[in-house]
Amino acid sequence: MAAQTSHQRSSKKLSKLRTFADGVKARFHTSHGQASTWLAERSIQVDEFRTKSQQLLAATSLAGTMALQNMPVDAQVFQRVAEQTDDKAHELMLAVTEEERVAILQKLASVVQQAPGKLDREQELYLEQQLSDMLGFTVTAELEGNRLNHTIGIMGGEQHLKRFPTDDLSQHDAYQESGMAAGRGAFGWFTENGVLTEQAIQREKYYFAVQTLYLPNWNSDWKHLKTWYAFRKMIVINPAEQVAVVGVVGDAGPAQWVKKQFGGSPEVIREGKIWSPRSRGKVYLLFVDDPADKVPLGVIHLDQLTKTLAQPEVKTREKS
């Protein structure tokens, strides 16, 4: 009986796979009529590309080729740290001085020059606390037990994403030269119940692509993780330009082999000056702990923000 159930499930999956593959094929032929005609005139189908070219590989060991083509694996093991920042102590740190601001950004500027990865937990906690104080809201490398493989890395430029199925570039108000990705983002449409709200517009403007597919637990927990990461609020800090951008996770990527660890929307890249000559894509990326959704998306000029916070203390000291 159990074997029958297993077999039935397998048959059902196979049937779904057939439907799925047929759908992708139909989409290809609909999207690219000229290419479809080109192939038809030569009596070849995309399905046959693999087998036809394989005939030219007679002397090649297929297993060897596949093994070579698979890139070396950079397995990373992360240590969960039980200590959490003491909220009460945290609240006592109301603002940072100008000297502290300079020190934090200098430290971060040095940190982002390191190889992509993460800091040890002690340094990470120090920076989280200092940055949280500076920004006025909590930022953290690990949130609700989740963390990305990198906090330090290179952020590449992404294209605009479709916010709804019929969206096109002309409906995006900035940086149209960046183009638009062919499909939707990995976390679905930005619209809310089919409505293009102001929040949906802001989310697409300020989105990040993060490498969820390379998370150690992605294969086993993808269903939960996909929900958790979808439109999760994060902040990218560009210490070289003293700019930060708050955005949401809107897509998955980039590929590990392109040597970039994060992606940013056209707005994130341009307004965050991510690829300025001083920055060269090197950034620090953290989660924003904002359950009440109080932190707005967009650019934060760290020098202006911290001066606002630090100025009263500086003035007091000048008077004394």
Binding site: R9, R50, L57, L62
Partner: protein, 124 residues
Amino acid sequence: MIVSENTTSAILGWTHHAPSYYDHLIDWSALDMLLADIHEEHRLEAELLVLQALDHAIAEAVLHQLPTDHHSEFLERCQVEYHNPAILMWLEEKANGISVHIQQTIIVTHTNLAELLADSYDSD
């Protein structure tokens, strides 16, 4: 790419299929997990269907990014050397950043497949 104890066997499990120029971008162990409980007699067809879906989705993405005047050359190269990673390098020359789109297409296709196949369980 994620390492698992099954990675090697997963890779070898797919090697009876002819390779493509973008195979090195695929997380084979993740694909293998998608088909983990496919019955042995269905396995080969399932693998072929996954690869067919990927091939079409990626061809669609490539043609979307590649300037139109290079479409014929791309299709010709696919006909004769679909296995050759040099196609990817050529594509990058003609459309900078196209590899990222290919990788994203792989990820989205994988995610769609994962959702589709998970639904098979849910509805049981």
